[in-house]
Symmetry: C2
């Protein structure tokens, strides 16, 4: 019985593995849906049962990355050794660590999202990724409100603001990629480093915490993630 | 000499007037580019000299709305009777007043932007509108930093956060419109009212001000803007 129920989910995961491998070697834009289908050795009809389009594959890959990144995170939410601020910082640091670790693959797979014509795709993928992260944020913000650490009346609204901070940096990254030069990238890194500092203090204050409580990035974090692109996908994507 | 130079700008304004009138009576989606061209009594080639597409017309109309709304606003920035907080609240209240006054026309013209397939258009139009507003915000935030009223190191970043607050409410409005029922609209109004309160306090705190300093909306503001749609464009757009 379990085998019968689990099978479609396993098949779906296998299709994602094939797509990911193909996108990594050929690049998302160059690999066609037919390539993915051929590499998976599956009929077209069977494939469309799982994914309606190539974009849906990318969306599902982003969702899988997000879920893998947050796999160990339930522990943080219930760690009795951490107060709500420690838990919130634990969530943010886990998300940061996952971004650094997956940066080379993530750039190769998702750089296409930062093209101007792919704003809708970016938005959809971002929503998919934040669907995993946002409820965890809400949970820990609620814990902090209950024990008096955080001063806010709208945990869902604050979680949305945190997710918006991520969306808001898109234009900076997109511009740097479109520019293409090392100078464009350096300028973007500078803006983003400053923005991370601002978002940290903004979130401190929105939650009624002393400045310097929240850690969204550590020094060098932005550079590590952004330069992972230069080392891996930059050549391939052009 | 001035007549020769001014002529293209006047012609452009006239084309926008024709497009606005047509979009208001027929609805943006139903009116074709050919309708606009016919109503303006101009050749197709001449038209394309000014606007490459129907979307470009809508973008230009949004930009014109934004500039008209902010016409009197330079006075606020230099009003010696106002401190920086007074000037910032003056800017926000002017933008609010403009939204209330233009709400019926704005809904009729721009509701189409909230359709899921028009996210790119929304983003472009929002960027065009914020291109007028954002520099004013930066200016008044700088004034407040200089005289010690505001505590932040990144005026451009804070102005971006204010503009993001506007972008962030899009999904709530879009969902209410897609739902279409009075209950959907009521639910959206409730979320938005709460969100306005959160954004006010968030901005207070990001700027290092006491809670309750910033006024983004007044009680009933969201309802006034949102129900202007029900009274005007709702029937037409369907």
């Amino acid at each position: 019985m379990p085998r019968v129920i689990k099978h479609p989910e396993l098949r779906r995961e296998e299709l994602l593995d094939h797509a990911q491998a193909l996108f990594l070697t050929q690049g998302y834009d160059k690999a066609s849906l037919n390539d993915v289908i051929a590499s998976a050795g599956i009929s077209k009809g069977a494939f469309y049962h799982y994914f309606p389009s190539k974009e849906a594959l990318l969306e599902a890959l982003a969702d899988r990355f997000a879920r893998q990144a947050l796999a160990g995170v339930q522990d943080i939410l219930h760690d009795p050794g951490l107060d709500p601020l420690g838990r919130l910082n634990g969530l943010l640091s886990q998300s940061r660590r996952a971004k650094i670790e997956t940066a080379p693959e993530a750039w190769a797979l998702f750089e296409t999202m930062f093209r101007p014509e792919n704003l809708v795709l970016f938005h959809r993928i971002n929503l998919a990724a934040s669907a995993s992260f946002s409820p965890l944020l809400v949970k820990v913000i609620r814990q902090g409100i209950e024990d008096g650490t955080f001063r806010t009346f709208d945990p869902e609204g604050v979680a949305d603001i945190v997710m918006q901070f991520g969306m808001a940096t898109r234009d900076v990254v997109a511009k740097a990629i479109a520019g293409g030069s090392d100078a464009d990238m350096e300028a973007a890194i500078e803006v983003l480093e400053k923005r991370v500092r601002l978002y940290e203090i903004a979130l401190d204050r929105i939650l009624g915490l002393p400045d310097g409580s929240i850690r969204i990035g550590e020094p060098g974090y932005v550079r590590t993630v952004m330069t992972a692109r230069r080392r891996t996908s930059a050549g391939k994507a052009r």
